[in-house]
Symmetry: C2
Subunit: 325 residues, 2 copies
Amino acid sequence: MRIVITGGAGFLGSRLARALLARGSLTDARGERRPIQRLVLLDVVAPALSDPRVSTVTGDLADPALIERVVTPDTDAVFHLAAVVSGQAEAEFDVGMRVNVDATRTLLERCRSLARPPKFVFTSSLAVFGGSLPDPVPDDARLTPQTSYGAQKAIGEFLVYDMTRKGYIDGRSLRLPTITVRPGKPNKAASSFASGIIREPVAGVVSECPVPETTGVWILSPRRVVEAFIHAQELPSSAWPTTRVVNLPGITLSVREMNDAMGRVAGPESVARVKFVPDARINGIVKTWPVRFRTPRADAMGFRADPDFDSIVRDHIENGAVIPA
Amino acid sequence: MRIVITGGAGFLGSRLARALLARGSLTDARGERRPIQRLVLLDVVAPALSDPRVSTVTGDLADPALIERVVTPDTDAVFHLAAVVSGQAEAEFDVGMRVNVDATRTLLERCRSLARPPKFVFTSSLAVFGGSLPDPVPDDARLTPQTSYGAQKAIGEFLVYDMTRKGYIDGRSLRLPTITVRPGKPNKAASSFASGIIREPVAGVVSECPVPETTGVWILSPRRVVEAFIHAQELPSSAWPTTRVVNLPGITLSVREMNDAMGRVAGPESVARVKFVPDARINGIVKTWPVRFRTPRADAMGFRADPDFDSIVRDHIENGAVIPA
């Protein structure tokens, strides 16, 4: 198996890479489980992962020549995780269009051009939804993005579906909940606070929360979303009969409930480190996103949510967060 | 007023042009009715329309240099009617993407770049719907295109809405029913039969119908859709508060009911000229489209359907169809 991960230097990309390397094998297009011989991580910066099976390539994802070099004819799977995140896509429309739409199309066209197109897993987002919607959002809710990020992801979904319907590729799109807790530094995603209000406080650092504590968030853990990427790739085509996109399962918590869980797991002093500093721009994006979903389709397909937020916080701490003495 | 019509040599484009010229004026972005001084018809072929106010430009719509030349800074309105139709977009994916997606984006970007962006009317289609849907289709139905044409139009709608939301342009998208009766020759639209089963028979010519007579069609007349283009342009922004797309009203008829109406208006001999010659490819596209809609939103906004199909056939005949002696 030869696998390409775009955004391979990012948090989810590198975590997916590690999970695939640990697993050692993946199911191919014919449903056969085969050893992973080559894992190519493509990103604008070089990922830090040393394994003899890993190659890293840096460059502009919207460059067809680069994509041609990276997605070789013997590629079995592409996990397309690279994206300009919500806050940046809203602030820099053209950068968002270039990466979220143009690079996705370039990748899809490259896959289409191959004699044996790789399975293609596309990272979409709950941001394709927005505005007035049923609560909870059903599996068949209409797409009503209220952000450029959401509109660009919706366009990506339509390309993946139509090119799959045409038989050009074998695509699968996953609409991700907000993924928390992410390690590292805050990023330009409007949802960055959902990690920041846990990651910094449990490490003894004060964190600013830009949205009210009543704000609801639809949540999935890094562990579960990596499982979902692999599961989406391994599902046979027959598991996607009428559409190629699925709303992943998740759990809904308010910021206050997230803090309460952190208090139970990491002590009340962690909660005291969360300072509410309203940011109208971020709140303006976040409040367009629905916070409750019903996901019977994903459940039936075998995708799984986390049992509760306490376990997510515990998992984050056990995976290397620094707890103050 | 300076107005640009893409697809200006096409049937709807030239009919819209004639309607605008006859009207003589149009409401501008400030809500003022102003005389039409210049009407620019852009198409791949030159339109046949002589009026001192008309300029014609031929060229490739996806060429930014051409678009820059045609959409000048003093342009008040763009009616974007040019498209690769459903049958061709399904047969030639890349041609469809180039015109239906790339040219639309080039036009939108050009409008955005202007100090005073023109109002932008985008021609979408009921083909953005498909597959399993409520019957009748409600205004807020989800987009489920099952053809490349539908997917490409859906992508155009998302671009129009997001760029309008950002304040880059002032866009309005209309989802057109099947427009019948079109004069001229059959085209590559899968819905071409909906005109062919009237146009040829009332002119004394045998017509082949590629779909069963039980096939339902969601119909609007050329007269009404031209009114809708102008009405969509003239409506103030405040008439489009939560979205920038509307399902136009229409009437539902089966092929058999269309034939019956033709018989009443043009005599039973016209009906005898319709021969059923099944075409699986065309039927495969047509049967993905819903045939019944509820359009309270369009109705409230002042868009109008035809009273019945008899009047559509009568209107077609009075506007120049040749009736055999």
